[in-house]
């Protein structure tokens, strides 16, 4: 165990019904001060993992360590972990101040100290003048801030957040993302954050654990996750992605050749393939595809037929048929000198071998 691993999951399994595992053999180390996001579709096991860490669910198998100590038999209220819930879970019968005082009263902190801390916490989330209100009298965004302040006011070293921004509208959500990020940076707490929103995960996290089917598919920094997905689920789940299915026909030192099912042969970077003859899915980000590539610049050049154009302001999304796939997306920046495209016309597209990752043949 590394010195700075604050939380450790070792071989953790969880089942509710004794038949299917919601979390399968989870090994996860979370560093002190880190902002780690558990990302995945619903039912992927991310929330269960969070609840086991909080102490509301008990692992069926395996152990969880907090700061080097096993916490299997530590009840939730003794774990000293701050938590922000999906719908805030502010106590409706208490004022904002009483909500914030709750964890401090439990800890038998002196009255004067409580007042100071509440004042500081409310200042941190910019709600200094709303302390006497009840949660029902606050807007969604304000409630969110109170929930955040409450989870932090007793100065825990670890804070868990369970889709805390899910109920907010887009603009407010983006603003809160930044605020949470700032607070994290200023306080230096460790944050474990659960979300199903990949852009939120990429924006906020130091590292992201992508969950699917009870298993961490990839644990990496946001840019790694986007640029270098290790399997086709991650490639598909994070960002936009062109998929080309085919069969590996040849391997060489740094690349491989893949025969596309819809026709054509592509030079790709082997990432997760089982060898010559195996089926594979090629993953290619739309912004890495070039129009009319200069000769020699791209190892893969194909004819494409423009099917549809979607104007998005800063760029245009082009749907085209490439190698038999009619769902092939190309992002064309609306910069000076952008080519004039017409649906039905034929163009030439190309991409580099390194940008085209040969991954497992997912369904």
């Amino acid at each position: 165990m590394a010195q700075d691993d604050y939380v450790q999951f070792v071989g953790v399994q969880k089942t509710y019904d004794g038949e299917t595992l919601v979390v399968k053999n989870l090994d996860l180390n979370i560093r002190a001060g880190e902002f780690l996001t558990l990302l995945g579709p619903s039912g992927s096991g991310k929330t269960t993992t969070l609840m086991m860490l909080a102490g509301f669910e008990v692992p069926t198998h395996g152990r969880i360590f907090l700061d080097g100590k096993p916490i299997d038999h530590v009840p939730p209220h003794k774990r000293n972990i701050g938590m922000v819930f999906q719908n805030y879970a502010l106590f409706p019968h208490m004022t904002v101040e009483e909500n914030l005082a709750f964890p401090l009263n439990v800890r038998k902190i002196g009255k004067a100290e409580i007042e100071t801390r509440i004042k500081r916490a409310l200042g941190m989330v910019q709600l200094s003048n709303l302390g006497k209100r009840r949660p029902g009298q606050l807007s969604g965004g304000q409630q969110q801030r109170v929930a955040l302040a409450r989870a932090l006011v007793f100065e825990p070293k670890l804070v868990l957040m369970d889709e805390p921004l899910g109920a907010l509208d887009k603009q407010l959500r983006e603003q809160m993302q930044l605020e949470i990020k700032h607070i994290h940076r200023n306080l230096g707490v460790t944050v474990v954050y659960v979300t199903h929103d990949q852009s939120e995960a990429l924006t906020m996290s130091d590292r992201v654990a992508v969950f699917n089917d009870g298993v961490i598919q990839q644990l990496a920094k946001p840019d790694d996750l986007y640029e270098r997905p290790q399997n086709s689920f991650v490639a598909q789940f994070i960002g936009e992605n062109n998929r080309l299915r085919g069969k590996v026909v040849a391997m060489n030192g740094t690349g491989c050749q893949v025969e596309i099912d819809g026709g054509g042969r592509v030079e790709a970077l082997p990432v997760k393939i089982e060898g010559v003859g195996a089926a594979t899915t090629l993953s290619l980000r739309p912004e890495r595809v070039r129009l009319n590539p200069a000769s020699g610049h791209c190892s893969n050049v194909f004819e494409a037929r423009v099917e549809e154009l979607i104007y998005l302001g800063d760029f245009t999304r082009v749907r085209a048929t490439v190698c038999g796939s009619s769902e092939f997306i190309i992002k064309v920046p609306n910069a000076e000198g952008a080519p004039d495209l017409v649906p039905g016309s034929s163009i030439s597209v190309g991409w580099k071998k390194e940008d085209c990752r040969a991954l497992d043949a997912a369904q």
């Binding site: 509301f56 009840p75 439990v106 007793f154």
Partner: protein, 417 residues
């Protein structure tokens, strides 16, 4: 355009026209809403407001003496009550009694006065028959000769009071009070004073049942609210079972269980826990058990439906903030269930006030509740004044309790689900 028009966008005439149009549109909607409420309103008026008004009026309004002894009532108007009334009053009495005897309304006079002067009923009937044969005065001697009750000041005092259209007799009687010959408030003789005791007992039993249903119902409601739906539905059926069994079946079941050689007593004696059968039935215990059984769902259901709406994340939040299981329950979960507790307890308390069949069947002699007395006054004794007075006092006491309750809990906090 004027400055005003610029400020408001419209000039005054235009604004008035706009308001008129708005009113026209809203009038139609208001009328439709009224039409929807009207049937309920009429129903409540006919089935509720009018009977309650009638009930309260009956408690103080009794024209039987004024209607059947008009001359005597007039003659007594000037009587100072210090001595026996004058000859004119006796003459009026003789005339009234003779007329009532002929019209067969004399029994109503006798019945009314008998409430206050026990045994006077037959004396009045006899006086009526004999007064019909009197043809000339002096009536004072003649009437006293017929029966010496007419020579007693108290008889006349009662007659004068009863002759007023509105009487305080029934209400005072229902509070174990009465008026003596001088019109002073006196308590009912101890051997007949019962109503205050019964009122207190009614409140006492209702309160006990309310507390019992709360103590039993709260944990059960919690269990029902947290169990998976299929299991909780099964349990819910058990809770609602008393609703689906007739009073007769339930009573028989309690008998089998609670009587001296019933299941429970047999078991206690077999285990040598008691040497003699415990008085489980025909006692306060039996009454409270039976009433609690029926009332449990009324207390439980509002609590249950409120608990259903409480997200488990509240308690989890409390736990994560450092509160132990009990502290989190007491400071977070419990306060959130108070609206349901308030509704359930109020419902059970008020419904309990109206019980009379169950206490009569499984209770002892000291468990009779006020509704039982009202029922008997109404149906058997035909004394609607007493029934109304007792009903009115019970209503009034309930409203006072409701008011106090509102101050303590806040009616706006009550929620049925």
């Amino acid at each position: 355009m004027t400055a005003i028009a610029e400020n408001f966008g419209l000039d005054i005439a235009e604004r008035d026209a706009l308001k008129r149009r708005l009113r026209a549109v809203e009038r139609g909607r208001r009328l439709r809403a009224l039409a929807l409420v009207l049937p309920l309103f009429l129903f409540i008026l006919v089935s509720f407001v009018i009977p309650i008004g009638e009930l309260l009026r009956n408690a103080v309004f009794d024209p039987s003496i004024r209607a059947n002894m008009p001359q005597t009532v007039t003659a007594l108007a000037a009587w100072d009550g210090k001595d026996l009334p004058d000859e004119a009053a006796f003459a009026a009495l003789a005339a009234d009694l003779a007329a009532a005897n002929k019209a067969k309304t004399i029994a109503l006079i006798g019945k009314r006065l008998n409430y206050e002067l026990s045994g006077i009923r037959s004396k009045i009937l006899v006086s009526g028959r004999k007064a019909a044969q009197l043809t000339q005065g002096p009536y004072k001697e003649a009437m006293i000769g017929i029966d010496k009750i007419w020579g007693e000041r108290e008889t006349w005092a009662v007659l004068k009071r009863a002759g007023a259209t509105y009487t305080s007799f029934y209400v005072l009687d229902a509070l174990d009070l009465g008026l003596d010959a001088d019109g002073a408030l006196t308590p009912t003789p101890a051997e007949r004073a019962i109503y205050v005791t019964v009122f207190m007992r009614t409140l006492n039993i209702s309160l006990t049942v309310t507390v019992a249903t709360l103590l039993l119902g709260f944990p059960l409601a919690y269990l029902l609210a947290t169990l998976p739906t299929r299991t909780s539905n099964l349990l819910m059926i058990l809770v609602l079972l008393p609703f689906w069994t007739s009073l007769l079946v339930r009573t028989t079941a309690w008998f089998v269980l609670l009587q001296d050689n019933g299941t429970i007593n047999d078991m206690l004696q077999a285990l040598h826990l008691t040497s003699e059968p415990l008085p489980l039935i025909f006692s306060r215990f039996g009454t409270v058990v039976a009433m609690t059984h029926i009332q449990l769902p009324f207390t439980l259901l509002p609590i249950y439906s409120v608990m259903k709406t409480i997200s488990p994340s509240y308690v989890r939040a409390g736990r994560s903030l450092g509160a132990g299981p009990f502290y989190a329950f007491w400071r977070i979960y419990f306060p959130l269930t108070v609206p349901g507790i308030a509704a359930g307890c109020l419902l059970t308390f008020i419904l309990s006030l109206g019980y009379y069949i169950t206490p009569a069947l499984v209770g002892g002699p000291t468990d009779q509740m006020v509704s039982g007395i009202i029922e008997r006054a109404m149906n058997s004794e035909n004394n609607w004044g007493k029934a109304s007075a007792l009903g009115g006092i019970l209503l009034f006491a309930t409203l006072i309790l409701y008011f106090i309750y509102n101050r303590l809990v806040g009616i706006d906090k009550i929620r049925l689900g």
